[in-house]
C-alpha cells in the first residue's frame, strides 16, 4: 500500500533566503508532485511607481532586488532612454558594463557559496563568502555602497573610473584567477558534492525550451542563450560574448544542479575576461550626458510613449517596459519581468522524482530571487489575496479588449 503525504515548506524556512511556500506530495522519500505558492513578498512596486517621477523610480527599481540591483536599474533606465531622446556617451556605456560584470561575479560567487551551504559543505561556503568580499570591496570603492549602488542615472553613470580604481580592478582580476580555481576544484571534484548535485533537479533541454527557462538555468540545460550575444547592449557590442554551456566543457549537458553550478562558476571566469577587455578599451570623454537633473526631468516630462529595456542579469533576461505620458511628471505604467519568474515555472518539473532532502537544494539551484518575482497577485478590498487562474486571465484579457473597443481605442 502506498501512502502519500503532503509536506509544506516555507514560507519561512532555513533552506530558503526568501519567503516562498511549496507543498510537496511525497511517497516515502520521493517527491511526486510540487505546488508553489508565490506572492508572499509582493510589495506592489509597479503600483508605487505611478506616483513618482522617473528619477525617483530609479531608486525604487534598485530595491526590487538587492542582489541584481544594478540589472534592474539599468533595464529601467534603458527603457526610459529608449522612449526619450537621451543618448549615453561611450565611456558611460563601458562603466555600466563594468558594474554589470562586477555584479555578476558577486552574485555567482554568493550563489555558489549558498549552494555549498545547502548541501552542508560549510568550509566551501566560508571560502566562497570570504572570496566574495573582494569584489564587494571593489563595488564599494567605485560607488560607495556595498549592495544598492545608486550608480546609474539617465544618460550615463554617476561615478567615473579613476586610475586607482582601474588598478584595483586589475588586482582583483589577478586575485580571482589565482584563488577562484581552488574553490572550483574543491567543490566540483569532491565526490560527495558530486553525488549530491549530479542527476538532481534535472531539467532537460526540451523542457527548458517548453517552459521558457532563462539565464544560467537554460544554459545548464544546454541552450545557447545569452542576451549579451543575441542582442548586445552597452559595451557588449564591442566584445564578443559566447554563452557558457556545459557541453563545451564536459562533453554533454545534463541540466542538473551540478551543471548549473558549473555554468555559474565558469561565467565568473568569463566575467573576469570581459572586465579586462572593458578596462583595456575604456574610451575617454564624458561619462554622463547631462548632470543637471532638473533638465533631465524637464526633458522627460515632454517625452511620451513606451520604451523597453532588456538586460542579461546574473539570473537571466530582465525586461522592463515603461510608459510615460507627455506633460505628466510621473511614470504612467511600468512592467517588470524578472528572470526568476520565468525559471520558476520549471520548479515542479525539477522536483519530480527527487528526494525530500534535495528540495532546498533544488529550490536554491535556480538562484531564486523571490523579491524580483513577486508581481502576479491580486488583492481584494479585505486584503485576502487570490491568485488569478489562467482562464480568468484570458477572460479578463478579452473583457479589456471589449472595453477598449467600446471606448474607441482610448487606453485611459
Amino acid at each position: 500500500m502506498s501512502t502519500t503525504y503532503k509536506v509544506p515548506i516555507g514560507p519561512v524556512h532555513v533552506g530558503l533566503k526568501e519567503p516562498v511556500t511549496a507543498w510537496l506530495t511525497l511517497d516515502g522519500e520521493r517527491i511526486m508532485d510540487a505546488k508553489l505558492r508565490l506572492g508572499a513578498i509582493h510589495r506592489g512596486i509597479e503600483f508605487m511607481a505611478r506616483e513618482r517621477n522617473p528619477i525617483q523610480v530609479i531608486y525604487l527599481s534598485e530595491r526590487i532586488c538587492g542582489i541584481c540591483s544594478f540589472s534592474h536599474v539599468l533595464a529601467f533606465i534603458r527603457a526610459i532612454e529608449d522612449l526619450s531622446a537621451i543618448k549615453v556617451p561611450p565611456r558611460g556605456q563601458y562603466i555600466r558594463s563594468l558594474v554589470l560584470e562586477l555584479e555578476r561575479i558577486h552574485s555567482h560567487i554568493l550563489w555558489s557559496g549558498v549552494a555549498c551551504y545547502s548541501i552542508g559543505f560549510d568550509s566551501a561556503f566560508h571560502l566562497g563568502m570570504e572570496m566574495r568580499e573582494r569584489v564587494m570591496d571593489l563595488l564599494e570603492l567605485l560607488t560607495g555602497n556595498r549592495v544598492n549602488y545608486g550608480v546609474a542615472t539617465f544618460g550615463g553613470v554617476r561615478w567615473d573610473i579613476t586610475p586607482e580604481f582601474a588598478k584595483a580592478t586589475r588586482d582583483m582580476i589577478k586575485f580571482y584567477r589565482r584563488e577562484f580555481t581552488p574553490f572550483r576544484d574543491i567543490v566540483m571534484e569532491d565526490p560527495i558534492a558530486q553525488a549530491r548535485m549530479r542527476g538532481v533537479g534535472v531539467l532537460t533541454k526540451e523542457e527548458a525550451v517548453r517552459y521558457s527557462a532563462v539565464g544560467p538555468v537554460a544554459r545548464a540545460s544546454g541552450l545557447r542563450v545569452d542576451l549579451r550575444k543575441s542582442s548586445p547592449y552597452e559595451a557588449y557590442s564591442d566584445m564578443p560574448v559566447e554563452p557558457v554551456v556545459p557541453q563545451d566543457y564536459f562533453g554533454a549537458a545534463h541540466g542538473d544542479v551540478l551543471d548549473r553550478f558549473a555554468v555559474r562558476v565558469l561565467e565568473v571566469y568569463q566575467s573576469l575576461d570581459l572586465l579586462e577587455k572593458i578596462l583595456d578599451g575604456l574610451p575617454d570623454g564624458p561619462f554622463v550626458a547631462e548632470t543637471n537633473l532638473n533638465k533631465v526631468l524637464a526633458s522627460l516630462k515632454k517625452a511620451e510613449g513606451v520604451g523597453w529595456g532588456i538586460i542579461e542579469a546574473p539570473r537571466g533576461d530582465d525586461t522592463h517596459i515603461v510608459s510615460l505620458k507627455g506633460g505628466e511628471d510621473n511614470v504612467l505604467w511600468w512592467k517588470v519581468r524578472a528572470p526568476t519568474y520565468a525559471s520558476a515555472v520549471s520548479w515542479p518539473l525539477m522536483f519530480r522524482g527527487n528526494e525530500l532532502a534535495d528540495a532546498p537544494l533544488i529550490i536554491n539551484s535556480l538562484d531564486p530571487c523571490v523579491s524580483c518575482m513577486e508581481r502576479t497577485l491580486t488583492t481584494n478590498a479585505h486584503g485576502d489575496s487570490n491568485i488569478i487562474t489562467k482562464q480568468e486571465l484570458i477572460k479578463r484579457c478579452r473583457e479589456k479588449t471589449d472595453t477598449l473597443r467600446a471606448r474607441g481605442g482610448e487606453t485611459r
Binding site: 519561512v12 513578498i41 538587492g66 544598492n148
Partner: protein, 179 residues
C-alpha cells in the same frame, strides 16, 4: 614579555584592572553572559539586507567570534532579526515566528524599509513598518546597513536582555506592557 606584563611590573596589578575597566572588558563579560542565538525573518525585503546578514557569517565579519550564531528555527532563538516592510501575507507569518520564540526575546529590525518604510510607501500591500506588527527593541538603519552595523545592533540587543533579567517583574508582564 607581553606589553601588559611590562605595564604590570611597572605600575602594579591595579593598573591592568584599571585598563580593563576603561576598555569595559569586565562589563562586556557581564553584559554578554550567554551566547545569543539569532534567527531571521524576511517580511518582504529586497534581499539586500539579507545578503548583508549572510555576510556577517562570512570569515571577514564572523559573527561567531561574539558567540552569536544563526539558527534555523525561531524556537531556539533569543534574537529575531526582521528585514523588509511587512507585506500583507507575511503579517501573520511574522507574528507566528515571533510567538514561537521563547522568552526573553529581542527583536532587531535591520534596514531602513523595516524601520520606517523607506522607499516603499503608498502601496496597497504593505502593513509595515515592522513596529506596526510586533514590538521592536533595536533599529539598525541603512539601506542596507553594513555588516558591522548589523553586528552592533545584535550586540545592543544584549542590553535589553540584561534589563529584562534585572527587572523584578516577570519578563512576560514587561513585554505585554511594551506591546
Amino acid at each position: 614579555m607581553k606589553f601588559c606584563d611590562k605595564l604590570c611590573n611597572k605600575f602594579g596589578d591595579k593598573f591592568c584592572d584599571k585598563i580593563g575597566e576603561m576598555l569595559k572588558m569586565n562589563s562586556m563579560l557581564k553584559i554578554l553572559p550567554k551566547s545569543l542565538w539569532v534567527t531571521t525573518c524576511n517580511s518582504g525585503s529586497c534581499n539586500g539586507c539579507d545578503i548583508e546578514i549572510v555576510a556577517t557569517l562570512s570569515p571577514r565579519y564572523d559573527i561567531e567570534r561574539f558567540g552569536m550564531k544563526l539558527v534555523g528555527t525561531p524556537r531556539h532563538a533569543d534574537v529575531l532579526i526582521v528585514t523588509g516592510p511587512v507585506t500583507r501575507f507575511m503579517h501573520d507569518k511574522l507574528l507566528r515566528v515571533y510567538n514561537q520564540m521563547p522568552d526573553p526575546k529581542v527583536v532587531v529590525v535591520v534596514g531602513n524599509c523595516g524601520s520606517s518604510g523607506d522607499v516603499f510607501y503608498k502601496s496597497y500591500n504593505l502593513v509595515g513598518p515592522v513596529d506596526n506588527v510586533i514590538s521592536v527593541d533595536v533599529y539598525v538603519p541603512g539601506c542596507p546597513p553594513r555588516p558591522e552595523a548589523i553586528i552592533e545592533g545584535v550586540a545592543k540587543a544584549v542590553l535589553k536582555l540584561e534589563a529584562i533579567e534585572k527587572s523584578s517583574r516577570a519578563p512576560e508582564a514587561q513585554r505585554e506592557e511594551a506591546v
